[in-house]
Symmetry: C2
Subunit: 194 residues, 2 copies
């Protein structure tokens, strides 16, 4: 994980990731079994855990990669000139994150770096996301009485809330983006009183 110097190591790792990718793209993230991955990669089970601390670590890596791809796209976009554009830009990422219940749960578990351990791929993307949002909010026509960083973290909080309610039996009649707008309008387009 930290220093894969040997060629063999890199090859094995690639085989594992390849096998995982194959399973994911056909059966989805939630259906991935470690046993299937090692069989697909033609290695022993123990080898898997020599490369990834646990199953979650591989998922963290795979899902983190997907999120990073979205963020790469965000960074090529011009700062949104209004709230609706901001939401529209964000939507594809939110849709990926909610495309499987398994994905969303795993993201929640890994969105904050676990104490004392190193910061994982997904946690890094959350930091990156805040950075992108901070930039957007600084440049766009949004409130300036609150630090853009706080606003960005708030957008993240509301996005998580909307995704959670998306999976909710009683609260999912409203599309995610509409609900997000309901929160973000008062959050981003207000000013402090007095």
């Amino acid at each position: 994980m930290k220093k894969p110097i040997q060629k063999r190591t890199l090859a094995t790792r690639a085989k594992l990731i390849d096998a995982a990718q194959k399973i994911i793209s056909t059966k989805g993230f939630g259906a991935m079994r470690v046993e299937d991955v090692v069989q697909g990669a033609s290695v022993a089970k123990g080898t898997f855990f020599a490369h990834f601390h646990d199953k979650d670590a591989l998922m963290d890596f795979m899902i983190g990669g997907e999120i990073d791809a979205h963020l790469d796209g965000f960074e090529k976009l011009p700062p949104p000139e209004n709230l609706d554009t901001l939401i529209r830009h964000l939507l594809p990422l939110l849709q990926f994150m909610t495309s499987e219940r398994y994905i969303f749960d795993l993201i929640l578990r890994h969105s904050g770096a676990a104490a004392k351990e190193e910061i994982g791929p997904i946690a890094q993307t959350f930091d990156r996301q805040v950075k992108v949002l901070t930039q957007w909010l600084t440049d766009g026509p949004f409130r300036k009485d609150v630090p853009a960083l706080i606003l960005a973290e708030g957008v993240q909080a509301f996005a998580v809330q909307c995704m959670a309610l998306h999976f909710c039996a009683i609260n999912n009649e409203l599309p995610m983006q509409n609900r997000l707008r309901l929160y973000l309008e008062p959050w981003l387009c207000s000013e402090k009183l007095s």
Copy 2:
């Protein structure tokens, strides 16, 4: 689960919950094993799953009970007359929710009712919490340009964010209540522009 008519059923159920409670109060939620519970209750393993759909369902019940106790307390409190009081009232609940990583993760998983299934105990407490907050926000000195329900859901979203960051290696230098204040001040004490 739905219609425990027989006395035996109620007794068995009580034995299971008792055994679970005993384990939880000595070793914590995260250390609970189904095997230990059934042994403590002197029943077979299969019996457990006749009473609870899975381990999470028992946890949902136990943790839901704890949260409900907090909400009972909230309802006896007068509506907070300012932001700091609101946060102070909320804090004990947030502290329980973050007292174990296991608890927080489970709460996140169950805070929205799973699609098509019945609404679980924790999901119900989240609804209840929104109701209490809505009342508080209606009565207190907070912004009135946004429906109190939306404000309440926002408070919940920010609370979740603060709890998540509480477990985060890089973002946990700020106490939960201070961070919450950072979000809630612009959220609750602003007015929409134009």
